[in-house]
């Protein structure tokens, strides 16, 4: 069997592990379009902050790839010929496959506004982006980050660490709009300002002029470097041209198979089922990309046997020592919630009846593992138990129902204890 993977990021690594769990012999070729080797995208902010310390951005080592018999080939795919089961590369090379995985990921969204192509306007998504930023940044200069999502915040942190004056501009009403609630955003905002990152919300970029950014409200800000972090869009062009079924992302069935039985897709390029809301959406998250890649790999190598149930939104990020963890979604706008707060620590949990559907933890990472798992596994825990937990949210106070379930699953042999 000949496996070809287009894209060399997290989903590709998951797929290698999935394929090799079944098929030890088949050839695996990764087409590395960026030509920078297999690396982990979230590490680029650490690379920009400390280029000497974080040179190695590998998610898995070269020895690991060798051990799994993976051939990493530099070159980007420009066409998929489904009838001949071939991938055409930019230089005309043709690679044939028995099973193909599309893991092309996403690309930064760039708005069509005047001046956006100026040399000091950059995106923050690849190693090349970091190198481009690194070549133009000067200590003490003004950096504007457009967009306060995960990428924007990490860009802000690294530029701040490099000694620039950093302001983050958000279009929505509060920062990290997809992760935080208005209440938690307020608190994080204060902490960020104390740490030296300025923020401004409700401002939409309309034009970029000579060392100046203009916003819809009439606001004008001086700028030396502008970083666009306005979200990403899936790289679906290749799949679309090949006539595969796509919506916002590539459409796959529960086995991660596309509308062509020899082609699978995984990672940021597909639509995933959000198990809290039941909707199909783009969920560009590293742990999901790995899981999707892994399951796609297993299904590509064997009979379609491993179904993917979907995932939940989850993010953990540290910005200048401020820890923010969040998982889950709100099934409707008005969802009941409980809040705990002490000094710089904050926890907000959202309940849908007896089910936890989302949490936001600021500077309180230690309880988040069980919270994430409670949401993902839809574990029923009564509201009064949550109320008790929220009086002092520690692991020791976590509802016992949860620990009992874990112990049962761990399947301890109690008779063995002497």
């Amino acid at each position: 069997m000949r496996y070809v993977i287009i894209g060399g990021c997290i989903a590709a690594m998951g797929a290698v592990e999935g394929i090799r769990s079944i098929d030890k012999k088949g050839s695996i070729t990764i087409l590395d379009g960026e030509q920078r080797g297999v690396y982990s995208r979230p590490l680029i902010s650490y690379y920009l902050a400390q280029p000497d310390r974080f040179k190695n951005l590998a998610y898995r080592s070269a020895e690991y790839l060798d051990h799994h018999g993976v051939d990493v080939m530099k070159g980007w795919a420009v066409q998929i010929d489904r009838s001949r089961r071939e991938v055409v590369l930019h230089d005309g090379q043709i690679i044939s496959y028995d099973r193909l995985l599309i893991a092309t990921g996403a690309a930064p969204f760039i708005p069509d506004i005047s001046g956006i192509k100026a040399p000091w306007v950059k995106t923050f998504y690849t190693i090349a982006d970091v190198e481009a930023l690194d070549s133009i940044l000067t200590k003490g200069h003004n950096a504007l980050i457009i967009g306060s999502g995960l990428i924007g915040m990490k860009a802000a942190e690294s530029l701040r660490q490099r000694g620039l004056n950093v302001s983050v501009i958000e279009k929505e009403r509060h920062i990290l709009p997809r992760i935080l609630s208005p209440e938690s955003a307020n608190m994080v905002n204060c902490l960020l300002n104390e740490a030296g990152i300025k923020t401004q919300c409700g401002e939409e970029l309309t034009a970029v002029n000579e060392n100046q950014a203009n916003f819809a409200s009439g606001l004008c800000l001086p700028v030396d470097i502008l970083v666009l972090a306005m979200g990403t869009k899936p790289h679906i062009e290749l799949a679309m041209d090949a006539g595969l079924k796509v919506n916002q992302g590539i459409m796959v069935d529960e086995y991660l198979q596309t509308s062509d039985e020899n082609i699978y897709a995984a990672g940021d390029v597909i639509e995933t089922r959000n198990i809290i809301t039941g909707t199909s959406e783009i969920m560009a998250l590293l742990p999901l990309a790995h899981r999707e890649g892994y399951l796609a790999g297993v299904n590509m190598a064997g009979s379609k046997s491993c179904a993917y149930e979907g995932g939940i939104f989850m993010n953990s990020l540290n910005i200048l020592g401020i820890s923010i963890c969040s998982a889950g979604s709100l099934p409707r706008a008005e969802t009941e919630f409980l809040v705990w707060q002490e000094d710089h620590k904050y926890l907000q949990i959202f309940l849908d009846g007896d089910f936890l559907c989302k949490y936001i933890a600021v500077n309180l990472p230690e309880v988040t593992g069980p919270l994430t798992n409670t949401i993902a596994d839809k574990i029923r825990i009564e509201k009064r138990l949550w109320q008790h937990f929220m009086t002092s949210p520690t692991l020791s106070a976590f509802p016992d129902v949860y620990w009992q379930k874990l112990r049962k699953e761990a399947n301890y042999d109690y008779n063995k204890c002497s």
Binding site: P42, L286, P287, R291, M314, S316, P370, L395, A410, S418
Partner: protein, 141 residues
């Protein structure tokens, strides 16, 4: 392999934490006056709940969410199946902390990295198991 904790035999004395700390960070298990020499960190935590006490250990899961969700590939599995942290690579994003169902992986705030059980993989029998005075901890396959 993993250490399992028997709530019904746990006295909650916390010696597991002390021996765990003394076993790591170059203190070589020398428990005497260990905290006067520096601040060694214990990997596993003793939980004290209303229903009892137990050491919150790592299950070294077969499909470990911490390994797969680690953004830097810092959490690895050694040939014996032991899941450990490569401190050369950990950037302290706490994704593993957010993903561990057992709440076992925890932040190491001072170093902006994480702490987790490595089953004392360089030294033989895990220190917590070897030194639990009531046999409440057991190494199982």
């Amino acid at each position: 392999m993993k250490v399992v904790a028997w709530t019904e035999y746990c006295l909650g004395c916390g010696l597991c934490e002390i021996y765990c700390a003394a076993q790591h960070d170059g203190y070589n298990g020398n428990v005497l006056k260990i905290f006067k020499k520096g601040r060694p960190m214990h990997r596993s935590r003793l939980l004290k709940a209303e229903q009892g006490t137990w050491l919150n250990t790592c299950m070294h899961c077969t499909h470990a969410p911490c390994i797969n969700g680690c953004i830097s590939g810092a959490i690895k599995r050694d040939p014996n199946g032991i899941v450990y942290v490569d401190y050369e690579r950990c950037v302290g994003c706490y994704s593993c902390v957010m993903l561990c169902p057992h709440g076992h992986v925890r932040p190491w705030s001072e170093r902006h990295q994480v702490l987790k059980c490595d089953l004392c993989r360089d030294t033989g029998l895990p220190s917590c198991v070897a030194n639990c005075p009531n046999g409440a901890l057991q190494l199982v396959d």
